[in-house]
Symmetry: C2
Subunit: 254 residues, 2 copies
Amino acid sequence: MSKIAVVNQKGGVGKTTTVVNLSTAFAQQGKRVLVVDGDSQANATSGFGINARKMQNLYHVLIGEADIDDVIVHIKDAGVDLVPSSPDLIGVDAEIKDFEHWELFLKNALKKVESRYDYIFIDAPPSLGTLTILILAAADSVLIPVQAEYYALEGVAQLLETITHVRRTINPSLNLKGFLITMFDKRTKLAEHVEEEIRRIFPNLVFDTVIPRSVRLAEAPSYGLPGVIYDPTSSGAKAYMELAKEMLSHEEEA
Amino acid sequence: MSKIAVVNQKGGVGKTTTVVNLSTAFAQQGKRVLVVDGDSQANATSGFGINARKMQNLYHVLIGEADIDDVIVHIKDAGVDLVPSSPDLIGVDAEIKDFEHWELFLKNALKKVESRYDYIFIDAPPSLGTLTILILAAADSVLIPVQAEYYALEGVAQLLETITHVRRTINPSLNLKGFLITMFDKRTKLAEHVEEEIRRIFPNLVFDTVIPRSVRLAEAPSYGLPGVIYDPTSSGAKAYMELAKEMLSHEEEA
Ligand SMILES: Nc1ncnc2c1ncn2[C@@H]1O[C@H](COP(=O)(O)OP(=O)(O)OP(=O)(O)O)[C@@H](O)[C@H]1O
Ligand SMILES: Nc1ncnc2c1ncn2[C@@H]1O[C@H](COP(=O)(O)OP(=O)(O)OP(=O)(O)O)[C@@H](O)[C@H]1O
Ligand SMILES: [Mg+2]
Ligand SMILES: [Mg+2]
């Protein structure tokens, strides 16, 4: 059982697109998969075609008003289960910060269901605040999407510091799964430069698979479907399927 | 004197790119301009070629350790002044939340210098937390960049609710400057659909000028220059210059 947090405080780098498509690709490989939407924007929830505004969701689980089993939704097209989110989550900060060990609320909630899954993917918001700390405390490993653009490299040092801090204080088993290069536009020199830079700074920590910029991935959420279901022949969908195979072959080796 | 906050909790929609290029385009039109980098990622700061890690910055102003005059840096290429930021800002939440009227700390700091400027542009982080509240409390108006993509429309209702809340409680004069469509890729139908949708839902609130996807804008920060300086002939740079003219013609009419 492996719990993978997909985190990067830089906005718009493909965290949600990675969670929605990679989790579905793992399910297509026969794995039992749970997705947790840890962002108040609830983009992963709508990326699977769910509107959780009127349903109980992760917010109610974190404040103790609902059991995680009560909120899990099965997504038939993708073959995954989902803990949905909603804008309610914006208020979670104020609700839980005064409790002792609030950082472990998500980890403890997942304990009740994790034995039923092979993989749990957790989508994080674009910040290093309360929700991201809860997510890093609950996960075994972190996958960091990095857009092949200049600003994307800037925040990585800060993110690694936060991961180290969480590992040292609340989650000693947290490790780095790897960096995933996303939205790679082969027409531009900028993308090539950034990829070379990332592979130079973090040798052996960057996945071989690179996700290309592919408009079909951006269109899929408007149909409430992962790209790997909406258009499995697209370059973006194929790349996420490749990534799932690459990650699973690493696991078999380990 | 006009204080414009550039805000959207959706990540990667072009907030920083808009602040860096639009402020410079206003300066090129002869206006006296101050830029405030309100994001702990400090992308606007590095977008102007400044590394503020070892300098005093907005963080020190907000916690009362430095005067805003002491941290302002003049950016010669762009012809603007800058209040830089750094990762220190991540800690501002914990430092100021217990003070009464913490929401007005930025507004009060700007009072000391605003008479020297015609326009102040404030870059916000991808969240609706403390920094964004400080920024909305300090501004007269809000410019909302919206990427021409599906997820970008999802969060707008939440953002408008937050703006209305700030207007009702701490800043009655806050109004909406408009929506700016960014990263428009004319090769895709998705972008056209999203633009039609935004103009349909918010008639008269969307700028005529649309910012196209333009790799020169993404390359510029690696040279520490705004796109309008790095390559003024590029489609992205021209669009920001057009936008400045469009906004200034509105002001003259008003
Ligand atoms: N490989 C890709 N090719 C084309 N578009 C993509 C790709 N990956 C993501 N997108 C689009 O780019 C935008 C940003 O992606 P996404 O929302 O997944 O990023 P994020 O990191 O989750 O953003 P946030 O920081 O707001 O949570 C979305 O509109 C998405 O549809
Ligand atoms: N019109 C454009 N054409 C091409 N690339 C762009 C354009 N606008 C912005 N970019 C690039 O897209 C990425 C996201 O833009 P930017 O960082 O300005 O967004 P942001 O909303 O400030 O992100 P964050 O939510 O992290 O603060 C950056 O790498 C930037 O260089
Ligand atoms: Mg996301
Ligand atoms: Mg930004």
